[in-house]
Symmetry: C2
Subunit: 331 residues, 2 copies
């Protein structure tokens, strides 16, 4: 009897999926994309690799990788994870009275951004260590989740996860509907991103590749095993680190890659250099009204060398202002 | 028209899957397992977490992890990857005339296993570096693939991939049919295991977690991007390294874990310590006739502390001789 019920459940699920899939196939899968060259290049690629023919790619090899900050969600006025770190320093300050007289914490607590930036990489490292290390992985995940549910973006006054790009959410769903496996490959902290990637993008934790600190397995005070986050940086998933991270965590070369800054250049080159048809895309932030306009000289998400390379090759450059009818789900 | 064809293709695939699934549901999913307590504990667990009720687990959380050497395939008379390394030293020897007079290579080339083992960890490290580093990841994958297609196990005189355990192949398929995502978490080299895991176990490269050496992204002589394997050890996925690797690569705690040696103990503890119902299993090599019999004093796959812990807890210990009707697919 159980078997019969399970049989019917599966058949029902399948028919639903098929109807949904065929509905998607007939409707426009990318409604927030203007019907421009960028959108056409995406659809032409997906049709080519999913249709039996010279460009056909078996589903197992349909690996798509996406940078996160500035590609899947907004990264201005500064990386959201850094805002999380700033909020954490303020929340933890009462337990650290010495921070009032110690840089870079003193500058941060006084909202002195100039002084904070003056502390440079070393200062940034101290802030990341103070806010991302010392707790168990489970306690950290809870902290990230609390922050995401309460923090608001200074300009849009919405939860940061509302600032995912609607056209990219449609692209992720379109690729998965065509049997692609979608991955994040980002310089952001892997445990920070895993706090929202599944809910916001439909990307499960095991498909999130990012920068990470060292961790240690130990028996906790209660004798229960736990994994503790340490202050030591273990892997920086940026620049040349991105293809290295792809090789380490995914173990196959992607056939589809999307980024938005020079930190994505080597990931895009690695993807483009594979045999067979490939798709390589860049988001160019050109819309200062609906989002932000920045590229070659921006301290955040600098897009200079990669833009030059894209222009000399057949990479797809998305002009946000022109190619995206809608930027955020709430627009 | 294309949409219609795709629609029909999908429906056909689905109906096939449903029929297959329901066929499996009715037939015995684990025919090579004796109808003993071990088999019953597996089926009871899978029924519990896949049936709506207090033990139900949503499919996304159905993470199952398996050690490889001695758990999914044979590890005697010595880890197969070490035999690969030995064969590689012999194949590369002509390019390294100095090896004839340099330990540990001289001992290895003279088939002096005693002398080779006398070189200890340092010697083993030199052999691994000489055989696993210096090439691109793609060249290394080709070397592994060539070796797997030609090398033969000294006792069974078959390709090493024939020495996967039939009962575990059935278990992997049974778990996947119940919407589990199956991962390898092994001390073996990740790039070595990725050379056969998909074909032999149906586990894709991105679900293989293992030990690894550092790699470097660079532009090759032809100006094409490449990833080169370096001699530096980057991560040892053994003992406490296994839960660390699970956290780093999978990002969720498994609900099902299977191992066979003390190197798996912390992975099993980490799995067992999660909330809700868990399955923890150990393969005990008790069949010297059909395979090998070894445990507490074996230099390879030593099973001592983990066996004691299993006996004091509700872990499932598989008695190979009694619980497995068939060990290898060719039996």
């Amino acid at each position: 009897m159980r078997g019969m019920v399970a049989w019917l459940q599966r058949l029902l699920i399948c028919i639903t999926l098929v109807l949904a899939a065929s509905a998607m196939a007939s409707a426009d899968p990318l409604p927030s994309w203007d019907d421009s060259a960028a959108k056409q290049s995406i659809i032409a690629f997906v049709d080519a690799v999913t249709t039996l023919g010279e460009d056909y790619v078996v589903p197992e090899e349909r690996i798509a990788v996406f940078d996160n900050d500035g590609t899947l969600w907004c990264e201005q006025p500064i990386y959201f994870q850094f805002i999380f770190a700033i909020d954490r320093v303020k929340a933890l300050a009462p337990e650290h009275p010495d921070w009032k007289d110690r840089q870079p914490f003193a500058a941060l607590l006084a909202d002195d951004m100039k002084g904070l930036l003056a502390s440079g990489e070393k200062g940034l490292g101290e802030i990341m260590a103070a806010t991302h290390a010392g707790s168990t992985t489970e306690a950290f995940a809870a902290t990230v989740s609390d922050w995401l549910s309460t923090a608001r973006h200074p300009r849009f006054n919405r939860p940061y996860t509302d600032l995912a790009y609607q056209p990219m959410l449609e692209l992720l769903a379109y690729l998965r509907a065509n049997d692609f496996k979608t991955f994040i490959v980002s310089g952001g902290g892997v445990e920070f991103m895993r706090g929202f990637a599944e809910h916001t993008y439909g990307i499960p934790p095991e498909q999130v590749v990012g920068s990470s600190g060292a961790t240690k397995f130990q028996l906790g005070p209660d004798g229960k095993p736990e994994i503790v986050k340490e202050a030591k940086v273990e892997f920086v998933d940026d620049g040349p680190g991105k293809p290295v991270g792809i090789n380490r965590f995914i173990g196959r070369r992607p056939i589809f890659a999307f980024g938005n800054s020079d930190g994505d250049q080597q990931m895009l080159e690695w993807t483009a250099a594979g045999d067979g048809r490939r798709f390589v895309g860049l988001v160019h932030h050109t819309d200062g009204v609906r989002e932000y306009a920045y590229d070659r000289t921006s301290p955040i998400g600098k897009l200079d060398k990669a833009l030059d390379e894209a222009n000399t090759r057949d990479w797809t450059v998305v002009d946000m202002k022109v190619d995206w009818r809608k930027i955020f789900p709430f627009d």
